[in-house]
């Protein structure tokens, strides 16, 4: 199941990343993904809930809390251990990919050129 989302789409990645510090409710996820991605990921509400449904089905995210604010139900979502693992795996994959380009020249393996 964890293999399904590799590579992860950017909005998915940032939705999961927004939950690393603890559960958040819908609007807080939209705000946090915006902050974390430096404004690149601007989730519309419909897109957010479609993503949350999918991530819940995949077992990456779970609903943890429910409170009533202004007479409306507000639910909070949290990462599951599987979600955390998938997010970590994706971060490692991207870090490895980034190192190929960004790492200092000396530390690069370059046996091929000599």
């Amino acid at each position: 199941m964890a293999r399904k989302n590799v590579p992860m789409r950017e909005p998915t990645y940032f939705v999961l990343a927004s939950l690393v510090d603890g559960p958040l409710h819908g609007y807080a996820i939209i705000r946090r993904t915006g902050e974390l991605s430096a404004g690149r990921v601007r989730l519309a509400t419909g897109t957010l809930y479609t993503a949350l449904d999918r991530l819940t089905t995949e077992g990456y995210v779970t609903q943890v809390g429910e409170e009533v604010v202004n007479g409306r139900t507000r639910r909070s979502y949290a990462l599951t251990p599987e979600g955390t693992a998938a997010l970590q795996a994706e971060a490692q994959r991207m870090a490895a990919a980034a190192r190929v380009v960004i790492a200092p020249a000396k530390s690069r393996p370059r046996e091929a050129t000599a």
Binding site: H25, G26, Y27, I30, A44, T45, G46, T47, L48, Y49, T50, D53, V69, N70, R72, T73, R74, R75
Partner: protein, 267 residues
């Protein structure tokens, strides 16, 4: 309720009813939080995302829909068409051809049809009884081939199963299609116009099949029924092709859903 909230709620109607009752309030809260102060209308971006999300949620539900629900609808439609057809013939007959008491039989049939539809929505057991009564009435008046009996057998079989799919009045859009399908002389009597109507009504559920496969499935079954009843006609071949297209369209999501359920059961 503010005008903005009302507009958001209207957009949320893109989602299936069950989804709305679980989620609408929460989503409205998020939507209102995400709206810039002073904004009176949903943004285009937000509207598109809600409609796309709604279609997606409907398509997901589609895959989990029991195929029996479609069969039940098809049987129900077939019985309705049978009564409507009988009534149409009744009215187009010359008075001297009327059988004694036929008018009363017609009145009873129509009343039973209405009762059946109402009862069908409430209680299955009563529905089965009512359907049997309808067809018995038809039998004593005149018998038209085997398909009404196939239809009632299907209705009884499917009604006995416990699954209760979500109800929707949109299904009944199939009825005119079914009516013209069974009786080409009904309506206009102009062959080309009649043909255009059939094509339109039969093709209309195709795109909808992505969202809700039941009407398309029901029509496909009805086409099979009436194909038997009609025999060979000029448009029968074309109707068969359309029927095949509908079958393919409806089979994809339903089969995918069945396969997924089986996998899930195994896991």
């Amino acid at each position: 309720m503010s005008p903005l909230e009302r507009r958001y709620r209207r957009l949320l109607r893109a989602y299936p009813k069950q989804y709305r009752s679980a989620r609408a309030d929460e989503m409205i809260g998020t939507l209102l939080d995400a709206t810039a102060p002073g904004q009176r209308r949903p943004s285009a971006r937000e509207s598109v995302s809600l409609i796309a999300g709604g279609v997606r949620a409907r398509a997901a539900r589609n895959a989990d829909m029991p195929a029996l629900a479609s069969l039940r609808l098809a049987a129900m439609l077939a019985c309705s068409v049978y009564i409507a057809d009988t009534a149409a013939e009744m009215f187009t007959r010359r008075p001297d051809e009327h059988q004694a008491g036929a008018t009363y039989v017609l009145a009873i049939s129509v009343a039973l049809l209405v009762a059946t539809i109402l009862v069908w929505l409430v209680r299955r057991a009563f529905a089965v009884a009512a359907l049997a009564a309808v067809l018995a009435t038809g039998y004593f008046w005149h018998v038209r081939g085997i398909w009404p009996y196939l239809a009632v057998a299907l209705a009884v079989l499917t009604a006995l199963r416990a699954e209760r799919p979500p109800k929707s009045w949109l299904w009944w859009i199939c009825l005119p299609a079914a009516f013209w399908l069974i009786d080409p002389s009904a309506g206009t009597g102009i062959e080309a116009f009649h043909f255009a109507l059939i094509v339109t009504f039969m093709l209309a559920p195709l795109p909808w099949a992505l969202v809700d496969a039941r009407p398309a499935f029901a029509l496909a079954i009805l086409t099979a029924f009436f194909g038997i009843a009609l025999g060979v006609r000029a448009f029968a071949a074309v109707a068969a092709v359309i029927c095949l297209a509908i079958c393919l369209a409806m089979a994809a999501p339903l089969l995918a859903g069945m396969a997924r359920r089986r996998r899930r059961a195994k896991a």
